[in-house]
């Protein structure tokens, strides 16, 4: 059963209080009244009303102050000001301060009932919005846990049994049969990786990585990234050529996530390159930026596709599908780069290849600013530099 709605009326005129009580008595409401602001505010805390009607002109605490205090106590309480004709402008003022509506004196029973009903409707919506927002946050936060367990667990169990089976049969399997197992293993691996990446987008609050920012060498993140895609490149007979210009890019950031971003970009370059070609990774400092560019001579991206590639779940339609992707790598990369106050851009021509450029604001590497400094000291010296 739904609780009765609670209405509080604060007015120094007893006639008004009486008539409000009488008018609202027919509805399914609890009505409380107060003769002045002090009593009214006390009732707000004890009675926990849904709507408060406040007379603007009262002895003692002014109606405005009452409004402000109610808002401070619980901003979800709907407030309506009661005011004489002469003070319509102050009613407008009150509404600017957060009052939901105003009720000009004298009012008809119908007007009061209508405003009450609308006010309750508003209160319901406000509370619902808050509940939904909280639910959405909870969902997002728990998504990682739920999805990890529900999706990854069965896949892990399948993979583990597959491992066990292959190990047990290893001496009996033919090369062909082994390759069938390899296929299964690799597809399950892909699926596990996909879930992992997907989770990263859904749940990871990439903005949070900023808390761990410290002075970071871009080149070291780049080498780590190259290391992790090297195997794939070797498989495809693709040479990764690095060119680093000194001084070599110190930025305020997080090495792990930067490496992740570079893995995505360099990995893509390898993925969309033709066998036997080259991928060029360049790190240089230009003006106040560290530029990391990755160039390939692969399949390229069509003009129609270019504007969408940094969006979620985009997978190239460039006709020439070389390898499958999750369509999230670039979106994650963009978020990581943006969390570093940087930007990412791309130039590409279909069939000829692409160049991705990541720009990160450079830290000046002077004697006061060695990489060993903690992030707070860095933030300070950074301010001094600019």
């Amino acid at each position: 059963m739904e609780n009765k709605h609670k209405i509080l009326v604060i007015d120094d005129e007893e006639v008004v209080l009486d008539s409000c009580r009488e008018i609202l008595a027919g509805g399914n409401y609890h009505v409380a009244t107060a003769m002045d602001g002090t009593v009214g505010l006390k009732l707000v805390q004890e009675f926990l009303p849904d709507i408060v009607f406040v007379d603007l002109k009262m002895p003692g605490i002014s109606g405005f102050e009452v409004l402000e205090k109610i808002c401070a106590l619980d901003p979800t309480i709907v407030t309506v000001v009661i005011t004489g004709y002469a003070t319509v402008s102050s009613a407008v003022e009150a509404m600017k301060k957060g009052a939901y509506d105003f009720l000009p004196k004298p009012f008809t029973p119908e007007e009061l009932r209508l405003i009450t009903q609308r006010g309750l409707e508003k209160r319901k919506l406000v509370l619902e919005t808050i509940a939904l927002r909280r639910e959405k946050e909870m969902l997002r936060e728990h998504f990682a846990a739920i999805v990890s367990h529900e999706l990854k667990a069965p896949l892990s169990a399948i993979q583990q049994n597959l491992f066990a089976l292959v190990a047990a049969l290893s001496s009996k399997l033919t090369e062909g049969q082994k390759s069938l197992f390899e296929r299964m293993k690799s597809r399950i691996d892909d699926l596990l990786k996909l879930i992992h990446t997907w989770l990263r987008v859904m749940s990871a609050d990439i903005g949070k990585i900023q808390e761990n920012f410290k002075s970071t060498l871009v080149t070291s993140a780049v080498s780590k990234a190259i290391e992790s895609v090297q195997l794939h490149a070797t498989h495809k007979d693709i040479e990764i050529i690095t060119s680093v210009e000194e001084p070599s890019g110190l930025v305020h950031g997080d090495e792990g996530t930067l490496a992740e971003a570079f893995v995505n970009i360099i990995g893509n370059a390898v993925k969309y390159s033709r066998v036997g070609s080259q991928v060029i990774v360049k790190v240089e400092e230009k003006e106040d930026n560290v530029l990391i560019s990755v160039t390939d001579t692969g399949v390229g991206i069509s003009k129609e596709d270019l504007p969408f590639i940094f969006g979620d779940f985009y997978v190239g339609k460039s006709g020439y599908m070389v390898e499958r992707g999750s369509g999230l790598g670039l979106a994650i990369t963009r978020r990581i780069v943006e969390a570093h106050n940087g930007s990412i851009s791309v130039e590409s021509e279909l069939g000829k290849g692409s160049t991705f450029v990541i720009r990160l604001p450079a830290l000046k590497n002077d004697s006061h600013n060695q990489p060993t400094l903690d992030s707070e000291a860095l933030a300070n010296s950074q301010e001094g530099d600019t």
Binding site: A145, S148, Q159, A164, A167
Partner: protein, 140 residues
Amino acid sequence: MSQPKKILIIDDDPDFVEGLRSILEAANYGVDAAYNPKDGFQALQAKHYDLLLLDIMMGRGAEGIMVARKLNKDPKLREIPVLIITGIREQIAFLFPGQAVHPHFMPVDELVEKPVEPKFLLDKVSDLLHRAEARKAQAK
């Protein structure tokens, strides 16, 4: 030949357990399994085990961590080497913000991700058994 080493697996996913068991038994380990923390704890108290394989996300949350904490408080049980096997490394980091990815719960423990390649699993298991033995020898 020496007695086969006894391993207890605590994991709420019986299918996953069978995948581990087959690999371990093929390598001549004796394997028991418990499918929830409570049974697992009882098994540990009732019988001697040389190693524990522990899942983290069980039941309503990170119950594996509770098991590890409880074991660590027991002067006898805390000497058992533990291989923590979890499906979600990032989740561990998330549970312990600001800590390294591998939180050490026990004197001798190690963390690996699900699924585990057989060779990797066997390497970790024998490594942990050696480390525990070295620790025991040192204590004497």
